[in-house]
Symmetry: C2
Subunit: 126 residues, 2 copies
């Protein structure tokens, strides 16, 4: 069996992928892969996703340079979610210039921004 | 604005929820919430999900006793994913009796089970 046949792809042919930083264990992003993205991730050793907004294969860091080197790939009990551990190049995973995407926290019924912008996105995406 | 209006619910009215163990930073599960589940999570202080297989509200631990006490609730840059930190009662988050659900690792093109069963599911779901 091909390793991608193990995954239960959803109706759009995608699977949600949790990306966790290897060193800090911080959850950086939730993104999506299709079969081709998983295959390319395996082949290149760097995270490759399916961009739902742009509807195309997305080599993470292709514009920003902030690539994610793969340390492990795991699937869950239902085989409908993937967890990868990565080394985050440049220390910035989020397109807003923050370390990770989960920078809004629900505190007393209000969403509050709890993480600083480390680099101006205009500088990242020149 | 009600805090749930901040979330971009998908076409099924759901959002993917990453659940991370507060103490160990291990990713335990990927599950889903609808508005009601998020509201109940806020109100009860324990994780409440939407079960896609059973199509109903799922108070985590309602059968097993393995509840998840909420430590934080975060959303990502696109507001279409949630990350919660929890204290996992009983040390078992997975219905297979394992600590967490991501117990299969892709190694040399093969999915291998890397986590032990801590408790027989027959004992958990009596």
């Amino acid at each position: 069996m091909h390793f991608s046949d193990h995954i239960k792809w959803n109706n759009d042919g995608l699977v949600p992928v949790i990306t966790q930083e290897f060193n800090t264990k911080q959850v950086l992003t939730l993104a999506w892969m299709n079969k081709e993205a998983l295959q390319l991730t395996m082949e290149t050793g760097h995270a490759v996703y399916w961009s739902r907004s742009r509807q195309k294969i997305w080599h993470k860091g292709e514009q920003s340079g902030n690539q994610q080197q793969i340390k492990s790939i795991r699937s869950d009990c239902d085989n409908d979610a993937i967890l990868i551990e990565v080394i985050q190049k440049g220390g910035i995973a989020c397109h807003t210039g923050r370390h990770h995407c989960f920078y809004q926290q629900l505190i007393d019924g209000q969403w509050q921004t709890t993480e600083p912008v480390l680099k101006d996105p205009k500088e990242i995406y020149k």
